[in-house]
Amino acid sequence: MNSGSPHKRGKARILDQRIIAEGYREMKLSYSSDSNGRPRVRPSSGQFFTILPHHYPLSIMRRPFAYSDSDENGFSFIYEIRGPATRDLANLDDGSPVDWIGPLGSTFPEAPENSRPVLVAGGIGVGPILYLARELAEAGAESLVVLGARNVGLVPRLEWPETAEVRICTDDGSHGIHGTVLDGLSNTNVTNAAFYTCGPHPMMAAVHRFAVDTDRPCWVSMEEMMACGVGACQGCAIPVKDEDDLSRPAYKQACVEGPIFDSRELIW
């Protein structure tokens, strides 16, 4: 049973959670101290875990979330209250147990040498991007972070590492740059940029096109409905280009082949 597989199922307890924007929370958890406490390997940025819904099995599907931080004692994530499972999370008291499986999926790859990581996030994509910025800072690398939100109320209040230059863009101009993340990228020298993006699909598509136009690499974090999270159910299909036969659809599994993909692999 204890094999080469990196993931496992375990229990954690909620340390605390705080509101970081309208409808958004950051939750911190600590691994339980018993034998099924800690993960086998430390989760990296881009990876995710799934939690058993509070009302399982009435709510039958585990819910995936990306890590926003992790150390040997526990992990954090940022979530938006969207439906029943996240509403339940928001109502849980500190100390409540959470049943997790992780770490799952692929990680953000390292940027090519001499390139500058440009991290672009919106909505629920901010968690994994924050974790990536933290990892880059730990490694001594500088980064540019561009965050998009509809208005000031949705701008996440977070502590970014000092080595990250953070630009905030709001659609209505109520905070930071007036416009989308693309406006946040204008007037930036991107000749050596390596793009990393996570957030709403249209935003990631725009960043992908920008990266293609400027001939720079781009990695995206894809969201798709998941049941197993380990490659068993074929539920989490992401349409990709089939290099051998462009006329037929081809799919990759977001849970094991992703969630991080080279944006040029995907059909947008």
Binding site: M1, N2, S3, G4, S5, P6, H7, K8, R9, R40, L52, Y56, P57, L58, S59, I60, M61, R62, I101, E224, M225, M226, A227, C228, G229, V230, G231, A232, C233, Q234, G235, C236, A237, I238, P239, R248, P249, A250, Y251
Partner: protein, 303 residues
């Protein structure tokens, strides 16, 4: 009291215990490594295998519904050639029996896969998927007409000598009649049920959540339908019945066994708790010991 005998006999072969994992929810047996112990399983039923690779349906393929979920995977699988070159060696290493789920669009597809399985020693038996609601051709059509099912089962019987399990659809008027057709054509066991046809509508988009409209409903929501189907089928035939549909606890499994099932499969509940089969088996054992049963077959016939 001695330990109860948990083995299940099908066509002269035995499964070590009655708790298997259902087709399409356990991949080809290796995906849950580190999350569950395959040595405690009665059998692994693989994802459907078709002669050619199938990419499957466009996303989204999944939706949650009350106490259940809808899937429209579309039999995505690597095809027979890749199964033989890549998946068989995984099955060889499994510490429990591997049963290959066979699907197709026309009868020749089933025969092609069944013929190939005849040559693979590590395959304990096959399960004919004549009940998939998520493909345009074949799939459920074979499982809804007793005549068609009879000729399909008969043809497969001629090319396959090991156990043949026919997986029945609940989307029929008289499941007993279908069950008898499969039995008379030489099936060694029947499994029921596959998913029920279901639909979820996104009211703001005014579109079905699943692009093709309908999908297969599974999970606790369908358990009463599955238990009733097993009860009817076990009264209609003499061959063993394998019950599934919404099992997520030992008590759920006991409902099926008491209704006439000789074995069970766990599907959707694996997504939530990958190690649940072992705990279900433990619960069945405790029930049998406490209630004084020594064999699974003794659980039948109370109603």
């Amino acid at each position: 009291m001695v330990d109860p005998d948990l083995t299940v006999a099908i066509a002269g072969k035995t499964l070590p215990n009655p708790v298997g994992v259902a087709s399409g929810t356990f991949g080809f047996g290796e995906e849950y490594e580190g999350l569950t112990d395959t040595a405690s399983l009665g059998a692994v039923y693989t994802k459907a295998v078709t002669p050619e690779p199938r990419a499957g349906n466009p996303p989204p393929r999944l939706a949650e519904t009350p106490a259940g979920m809808i899937n429209a995977i579309g039999l995505a699988n690597p095809g027979l050639a890749a199964f033989l070159s890549e998946k068989v060696r995984i099955l060889e290493r499994l510490p429990c029996p591997a049963i290959v789920n066979v699907a197709g669009a026309v009868m020749a597809d089933y025969l092609k896969v069944a013929e190939a399985m005849e040559e693979v020693d590590s395959v304990w038996g096959i399960e004919l998927n004549v009940s998939c609601p998520n493909v345009d051709h074949g799939g459920m059509a074979f499982g809804t007409d007793p005549k068609v099912l009879e000729s399909l089962t008969y043809a497969v019987r001629k090319v396959y000598s090991k156990p043949i399990i026919v997986k029945l659809s609940p989307n029929v008027t008289d499941i007993g009649e279908i069950a008898r057709a499969a039995e008379s054509a030489g099936a060694d066991a029947l499994s029921c049920i596959n998913t029920l046809t279901g639909m979820k509508v996104d009211v703001l988009r005014r579109q079905p959540v699943i692009p093709r409209g309908t999908g297969g409903l599974s999970g606790p929501a369908i358990r009463p339908v599955g238990v009733a189907a097993v009860w009817k089928v076990s009264k209609a035939v003499g061959i063993p019945v394998i019950g599934l549909g919404g099992i997520s606890s030992a008590e759920d499994a006991m409902e099926y066994l008491l209704a006439g099932a000789s074995a069970i499969q766990v599907g959707t509940a694996l997504f939530g708790e990958p190690d649940i089969p072992g705990r279900i088996l433990g619960g069945i054992k405790i029930y049998m010991v406490q209630e004084g049963f020594s064999r699974i077959a003794d659980l039948h016939g109370f109603f």
